[in-house]
């Protein structure tokens, strides 16, 4: 029998807990496929965050460590420095990476740590029930800004890819999304490129995935995709933010 489609070897046969329409599962699948295609599953060590992806270590078919909230880049530094020839990645949400773990990600990027970070920007704290994140859009409602985020009260949303791109140690940053097949394919190519750069020892690589949280956005999955396309992508521009890896020796 010929398979037309099957679950990636990079994922285990365990039902995921993600809500219907959530992009976490899709991004897991892309990362898993890339790892499988690059034949890295036996070598790779992943680090999961505190957030909805806290269970990522149960889903991926590779070794994993669960880090404290925001500390995944420091944990990954400990792994990568002692295992320079093995692929290492962190998978983090926006509360985890841009808020409580802002220091750790900036300094890992500054040091040019040779691991890859997959950053899920869904503009909200998913796991704890929809509080405001540093990435919540102006006017977007969350349980701790119920009339919508105001710049006066909470500042302007943080563009992590652009911010990290200012650091020389970060050689590649791209913002992608997975709302349709063309975008999903682009996202997968970006993830693959990040791992290729990592394996070539180029420097820190960062893939920001604009994602939906239908549950806490209070939208159907389709409406959420629409919102991402019209509102999120307007503030967080899709595409390559930085790619200097070609020149890096």
């Amino acid at each position: 029998m010929a398979y037309i489609y099957k679950r990636s070897e990079g994922l285990r046969d365990i039902p995921m807990h993600y809500c219907p329409g959530c992009h976490h599962g899709i991004v897991h699948k892309l990362v898993a496929e890339v790892l499988e295609e690059m034949d890295l599953l036996d070598e790779v060590i992943g680090v999961c965050p505190v957030g909805c992806a806290v269970f990522a270590g149960d889903y991926f078919n590779c070794d994993f460590q669960e880090a404290a909230h925001g500390r995944a880049p420091a944990v990954a530094t400990g792994i990568k420095r002692t295992h320079p020839n093995q692929p290492v990645f962190t998978y983090q949400g926006d509360g985890d990476l841009a808020s409580i773990g802002a220091g750790e990600i900036v300094h890992a990027a500054m040091r040019g740590e040779k691991f890859t970070t997959v950053f899920i920007n869904n503009g909200i704290y998913g796991m704890t029930g929809g509080q405001m994140a540093p990435t919540t859009l102006i006017g977007m409602k969350a349980s701790t800004c119920q009339d919508g985020r105001s710049a006066e009260q909470a500042g302007m949303p943080m563009r992590m890819s652009e911010m990290l791109a200012t650091l020389d140690g970060c050689v590649y940053a791209e913002r992608v999304c997975v709302i349709d097949i063309p975008n999903l394919n682009k996202a997968k190519r970006a993830i693959k490129k990040a791992f290729e750069y990592q394996m070539a020892g180029k420097g820190f690589t960062f893939i920001e995935v604009l994602s939906t949280c239908p549950t806490n956005w209070g939208m159907t999955p389709l409406k959420a995709n629409q919102f991402l396309k019209e509102k999120m992508a307007a503030y967080y521009q899709l595409g390559v933010v930085k790619d200097t890896a070609q020149e890096v020796k």
């Binding site: 599953l41 036996d42 060590i45 460590q65 880090a67 404290a68 500390r71 420091a74 002692t82 220091g103």
Partner: protein, 355 residues
């Protein structure tokens, strides 16, 4: 082997290297900055890893990452930095990882002072972070012990899969003493088959985590950890008793005050007062029974607990003695080291009150 003159903090670093420490992560803070300085020079020479972390929060999480890969990982700091590490230490304990942490204590609370102190006794011996864990805490009182204990700490941590803390006051980090690099007790260590090394050669991936969503699982993990802690209590209690057999007064102290009390004992005995020193070497597990048994004897009138703090170990002393004899206290806080004269006076005062 010939004796060599070594500074406390450099001994911490060199002992770790000799014990096979694979990687060191740290952040500068007085009075222990000589440790990262020494490591930055010597770890690369041995082909090992040194990273200056951006904070103590990051340093302890780098330790987590490396330890979870099965490596011998270490960090060092002083009180304010150790406070920042508590989150990471809790995760290390919760994930059942070995790690070695050195606290070169200075005066607090807050920024306090860079002078030596023992004010982190509670934090060290009660877990320090959240959850039901304990760190094994060894308190050397001279540089030779420091050299021995730091080397042993890596084996102890690996043996029990539990973080080990070496707690010294800043004085011990800063002084120079002749020491001998002598072999320490080595243990037969269990294989680290839980480590995340890449799943090659294994059927199932390894997951290092402290998350157990199902309370039954979390309880089971805690019970397991509790059994391990019991084992540690049974096997790893250490202390030293000097002149306690015939003492009318037993002074209890660790670290620098314990060294000073050696001179106090001589002086008191020449004055006709029979004084002894009970020195806990493992602060956790606390040597409860030996202390109780010494104090319970008829010759002992009272106990004087001496600390470089407002009195923290005194709780454990009282728990050990179970009200059998009065417990007096003398302490200096905020970075001051008590003198021989002060302690003698405190001992005499306590004896007078007892009459």
């Amino acid at each position: 082997m010939a004796k060599e003159l070594w500074k406390g903090n450099e001994v911490i670093a060199e002992a770790a290297i000799r014990a096979g420490c694979d990687c060191y992560f740290g952040y500068p803070i007085t009075p222990q900055s000589e440790v990262p300085e020494y490591m930055s020079v010597h770890m690369p020479k041995h082909g090992r890893i040194f990273v200056q972390a951006e904070s103590e929060v990051a340093a302890i999480n780098m330790v987590y990452g490396a330890a979870a890969c099965g490596l011998r990982a270490m960090t060092t700091s002083s009180s304010p930095g150790i406070s920042l590490m508590q989150e990471g230490i809790s995760y290390i304990a919760g994930s059942r990882l070995p790690a070695v942490i050195v606290n070169c204590m200075r005066g607090g609370p807050g920024l306090g002072t860079i002078q030596p102190s023992q004010a982190d006794y509670y934090q060290s011996t009660r877990g320090g972070g959240h959850g039901d864990y304990r760190t094994i805490v060894l308190a050397p009182s001279n540089i030779q012990e420091l050299a021995d204990f730091v080397q042993e700490a890596f084996d102890i941590a690996d043996y029990y899969r539990n973080p080990v803390m070496i707690a010294v006051d800043g004085m011990i980090g800063q002084i120079l003493e002749p020491i001998e690099w002598r072999p320490v007790k080595r243990r037969e260590l269990p294989p680290k088959d839980w480590a995340t090394t890449g799943k090659r050669g294994r059927k199932t991936p390894n997951l290092v985590t402290s998350l157990f969503m199902d309370p039954e699982d979390c309880d089971r993990m805690n019970q397991l950890m509790g059994e391990n802690l019991k084992r540690i209590e049974e096997n790893e209690t250490r202390y030293e008793a000097i002149g306690c057999d015939d003492a009318e007064i037993i002074l209890v102290a660790y670290g620098t005050p314990a060294r000073i009390i050696i001179s106090v004992l001589d002086e008191l005995r020449t004055q006709g007062i029979k004084a002894g020193l009970f020195r806990p070497i493992s602060l956790w597990p606390f040597p409860e029974k030996p202390l109780h048994d010494y104090v319970a004897k008829d010759n002992v009138k009272l106990v004087l607990d001496v600390e470089m703090s407002l009195g923290q170990m005194i709780d454990d002393v009282r728990l050990a003695i179970k009200g059998k004899k009065p417990v007096h206290f003398y302490g200096r806080a905020g970075g001051i080291v008590p003198t021989v004269e002060e302690i003698i006076e405190a001992a005499k005062k306590a004896l007078k009150e007892a009459k």
